[in-house]
């Protein structure tokens, strides 16, 4: 039953997976709330591991969510489910509409699709910020330090142009120092 839910979720996601892995977080999050596979906190950890690993983030998240929900078979089913739509679509596109990226219909759709992908990512950021108590009114050491870590991470990414993988690893070290 869980395998079927996983397959359904990632198979449908495979068909609308535009704009990279982070835009897919809202879809994953809504499935997780619906089926109760894990907590929001666990999901955030999984997205972090997916981001630190080689490979596309959406596929990596599928592997890890599948594994958490249903073990090795869950990982296989989810990966297959997210890859299969790409295979179907690529074969169709390669066979029929070779110049899809200059197609006026596709260009018109992307005009609205790209801003919406931006909304999806902003929405994911808001959800995760709330789930991880980043937006909080109490002034404990923990909540203040978390806001500082958030600010420094953003600074490292935007201004210092560090690779996200390094920022995540360094942040982990900071966490061990501050919170254990």
């Amino acid at each position: 039953m869980v395998l079927l839910q996983l397959f359904q979720t990632f198979f449908i996601m495979g068909f609308v997976s535009f704009g990279g892995g982070y835009a897919m977080i809202p879809i994953i999050e809504s499935a997780i709330t619906k089926y109760g596979w894990m907590s929001s906190e666990q999901l955030t950890n999984i997205i972090a591991i997916a981001g630190m690993s080689p490979g596309p983030i959406a596929a990596n998240s599928a592997i890890l969510i599948g594994y958490t929900a249903a073990g090795i078979s869950g990982a296989f089913v989810s990966t297959f489910a997210i890859l299969f739509p790409s295979l179907i679509l690529v074969i169709c596109v390669a066979g029929f509409f070779v110049r899809l990226h200059h197609n006026p219909v596709v260009e018109k759709m992307f005009y609205g699709l790209k801003p919406l992908v931006t909304s999806l990512i902003i929405f994911a950021a808001i959800k995760f910020a709330l789930a991880n108590n980043l937006v909080s009114i109490n002034l404990s050491f923990r909540s203040i330090s978390l806001v500082i870590i958030f600010g420094l991470s953003l600074f490292a990414l935007l201004k210092l142009r560090w690779n996200p993988v390094y920022v995540l690893l360094l942040s982990g070290l900071v966490g061990v120092t501050l919170y254990s």
Binding site: G19, N45, G112, A125, I149, Y179
Partner: protein
């Protein structure tokens, strides 16, 4: 082994070797694809590869996987597409799965828990960063800004898949109407200032 199956195996093996370098974004793969597919094997030309990568971004799914599948299809038909897709996915699948398994073994380690308190906040920063990077190509006039601004609150009420479909339909309708009314409409940023040409953009997008 027949000649055809030898080719399928070669396609698989080529992408299997390239795959593990796709850290944080498929675009790290491009120089290696050109080296292996164009220079070494002489299966395709650099222009064909550039075309494939542009096309891969219009198809849903990860750019790394889509480009590999397209290239596999060009070289060896449907069997080639399959071989390339499995070749590019298998190494990362095994790496991520073993990372996942080890994470669940040491899940309750207090040091690891402490690390993740900080990492979870950094992931929020990375998502914000991804949003900024994507916004730079996606938002370039009032209409695109409005779609983005309306999309965020709408997502609290409607399913994200419905939102994606509505976004595409809205884009289609708005551009069609504006064109009918005789407005000139830029559908994307001009090439020179398009941050999509900056490989770092894709790193932020986590494609």
């Amino acid at each position: 082994m027949t000649v055809e199956w030898k080719l399928v195996w070669r396609i698989f093996w080529t992408f299997f070797k390239i795959s593990p370098v796709t850290f944080g974004g498929g675009f790290a793969m491009i120089p290696l694809i050109i080296k292996e597919i164009v220079e070494k094997r002489k299966w395709l030309t650099t222009e064909e590869i550039t075309d494939v990568i542009a096309l891969s971004q219009t198809v849903p799914g990860a750019v790394a996987v889509n480009s590999a599948t397209f290239i596999g299809h060009k070289i060896g038909g449907i069997r080639g597409a399959f071989a390339a897709m499995i070749g590019v996915s298998l190494p990362t699948f095994l790496i991520v799965l073993s990372l996942g398994i080890s994470y669940f073994y040491i899940d309750d380690n207090p040091k690891l828990e402490a690390a993740f308190v900080s990492i979870r906040v950094t992931i929020v920063a990375i998502i914000v960063y991804a949003a900024i990077k994507i916004a730079k190509t996606a938002i370039f006039d009032k209409t695109t800004f409005f779609i983005m601004a309306a999309g965020v609150p709408a997502l609290f009420f409607i399913h994200p898949i419905v939102a994606i479909l509505l976004g595409a339909i809205t884009g289609y309708i708005i551009v069609s109407i504006k064109t009918k009314l005789g407005y000139m409409i830029e559908m994307k940023k001009s090439k020179e200032e398009d941050p999509a040409n900056d490989p770092e953009y894709y790193m932020g997008a986590g494609i």
